[in-house]
Subunit: 373 residues, 2 copies
């Protein structure tokens, strides 16, 4: 049994050496999460890539599938198989508390995964549901969460097609965690991915930011922020379909700014596209209650999670048409242009401030809002 947990052959990658152990920030969706993906998961998972290529099964994936490496572990992957393009994504949900103003872990688990598919331009088809339940969880809580998932899936027109249930001993979970994975169909011609963002693109935000994060914090910390705030949790594939109806080639990149907020979404797309991003801070729709709560808590609204918003990178010539299509859709009626993509300062996101200056916008390190989704 010397093979049990034999760690001698595993060397901690240099960029991860500051942390010999997992910290909450590794799950924050920011820099630490990226480092874990880049330096731990991708090398481990890629170890057998060449082997897989030799296997007859791999031949079923069309050559174009190699392009899905762009999405590995970060977004929905797109697999070309049997003449269709399949989007495939996964997310686990560990939000605390399970119920919050405007929704629950059930709606999040459906909307979050639907939105990951939508941000590749895919029409969501089916979701899986994998539950990890804590011994002692009230059945009524599980029943409510399952109902929320059923209703959210029905409203989104997506089927909960397969599932799994595990139970762990009391104290080894926090009520329940749920994973949803999703498959969707990418319509012909649609090619939406972070690295298609290009200089000249206009950047559109679909609505007010930060409401989900502040709604969850309000109940978690028992705080009142001088206003009602509800999670913005919503499925966005209908909005995306409306945008693609306006123009297929003009929609270059989409991202739903969840963990790490709008700042992280902009930074990730800037990095993937090898281009700069510039936006006007005052153009970003921040509801007063989010502004107030962020002031109180010392948070930057640009770092606070949304669960029903997207940021779109659209060809300049198509911006008016896409914006009009978004505003005609309930999920995008407050859509606004906040900035554009530039050939300068590739990979860097710059905000123009109210005082006429500029500041560099970065991703949070990771730990500021644990378990927000």
């Amino acid at each position: 049994m010397t093979d049990l947990a034999d760690m001698t052959g595993w060397a901690c990658p240099t960029p991860l050496r500051d942390h010999q152990r997992i910290v909450l920030g590794h799950g924050g969706g920011g820099v630490l999460t990226s480092e874990l993906i880049e330096h731990l998961f991708l090398p481990a998972f890629a170890a057998g890539g060449s082997t897989a290529r030799r296997d007859p099964a791999a031949a079923l994936l069309d050559a174009a599938s190699a392009a899905s490496a762009d999405a590995a572990l970060a977004d929905a992957a797109v697999l070309a198989v049997g003449g269709i393009r399949l989007a495939f994504t996964t997310d686990s949900y560990v939000v605390r508390p399970l119920f919050f103003p405007g929704g629950s872990i059930g709606e999040l688990a459906v909307h979050g995964t639907v939105n990951d598919l939508a941000c590749r331009g895919a029409v969501p088809l089916a979701l899986s549901a994998g539950f990890i339940l804590e011994e002692g969880l009230e059945l009524a809580v599980l029943g409510r969460v399952a109902q929320a998932m059923g209703h959210a899936a029905a409203a989104a027109g997506v089927r909960l097609a397969t599932g799994d249930t595990k139970v762990v001993e009391r104290g080894l979970a926090d009520g329940l965690y749920v994973n949803t994975s999703g498959v969707g169909l990418v319509p012909p011609g649609v090619d939406v991915r972070p690295d298609r963002a290009a200089p000249g693109d206009r950047i559109i935000v679909s609505g007010p930011i930060g409401e989900h994060g502040i709604a969850v914090l309000s109940v978690r910390e028992g705080l009142e922020f001088g206003g009602d705030v509800r999670s913005d949790t919503a499925a966005l594939h209908g909005l995306v379909a409306a945008m693609l109806a306006a123009t297929i080639p003009g929609v270059h990149a989409l991202r739903d700014p969840t963990r790490g907020g709008l700042a992280t979404a902009l930074c990730e797309i800037a990095a993937a596209a090898g281009a700069g991003v510039e936006f006007t801070e005052s153009a970003v729709p921040v509801p007063p209650v989010v502004e107030a709560a962020c002031g109180f808590l010392g948070l930057d609204p640009l770092h606070v999670a949304c669960e029903g918003r997207l940021v779109a990178f659209v060809a300049e010539a198509d911006t008016d048409a896409v914006l009009a299509a978004m505003r005609a859709h309930p999920a995008g009626r407050d859509a606004v242009v906040i900035g554009s993509v530039t050939a300068e300062h590739p990979g860097v996101v710059v905000a123009r401030t109210a005082f006429g200056g500029t500041r560099i916008v970065d991703r949070p390190l990771g730990e500021q809002l644990p378990r927000i989704c």
Copy 2:
């Protein structure tokens, strides 16, 4: 905020009323798990089925997809989309300990999901990986698990295509949990599902049973069972492909006997097929170390999990050809016929004992081997 965790509208379904709270047995894969699926998840998830049908997105799923209801929440679903048939499945892995003789949670997470696809006759294409990590987990442990997943996926010729990482506070997980979901392609003509088992079918077990469960228990309880026992964890899609190469129509139903063991697999297929199962107890290959450990622990080997075996229901006329194909494959070299399907006693599984009598074989209630996978 009256909507937060408002449980007044949720009524506990009658069959679940013995348990107002989740018990470990709800995750055991036996009767309690089935009850939770049937009475809690399926009604909640089906609540919006008709709505989904009206949504244009649902039209992308071919009508044949309705047949996948047989697999809802229990096995891989098969979705007909764009002229191909896609198998889709999910499993969360919470095995304790993370490393055991013959493997780790990493191999299990790849093999288990590959095998769920294979048991619908599908060629596995891609897996997702969703991690829930406990704050304080050693990076080296995570690194080892990720490497195990990478190697297992490479050996199986399947790609780890997309992923997600969440972190929860110290004490709210047990090191790490991982969910893998999988998509696969069902080849033309292949139609493998529990309800295709039919009277006259021969029942084949692919190899010795119970090694995974006993291997995990041996390290968990620090027991020695008078022999070396290693998990049988293995990918079975190669074996299934060999069986289908012998005959496509003759392979009626497949199941990998994981949680709940061979007994549960037989009972579930008998129930789905509305047919009886009869088998000879002495024909089931039980390794001496499994026999000894079960005697010591008071377990029935038929209830102990395998992670690299399958049970096949094959048309009588094709049995010899399928058996020969299995024995020619490394994963099936010890395959044996253990019994047959009968029109009598539908839904009931009967074992012929060594003493010439018979006994009814049932599923475990659920709690005897928690967290075995």
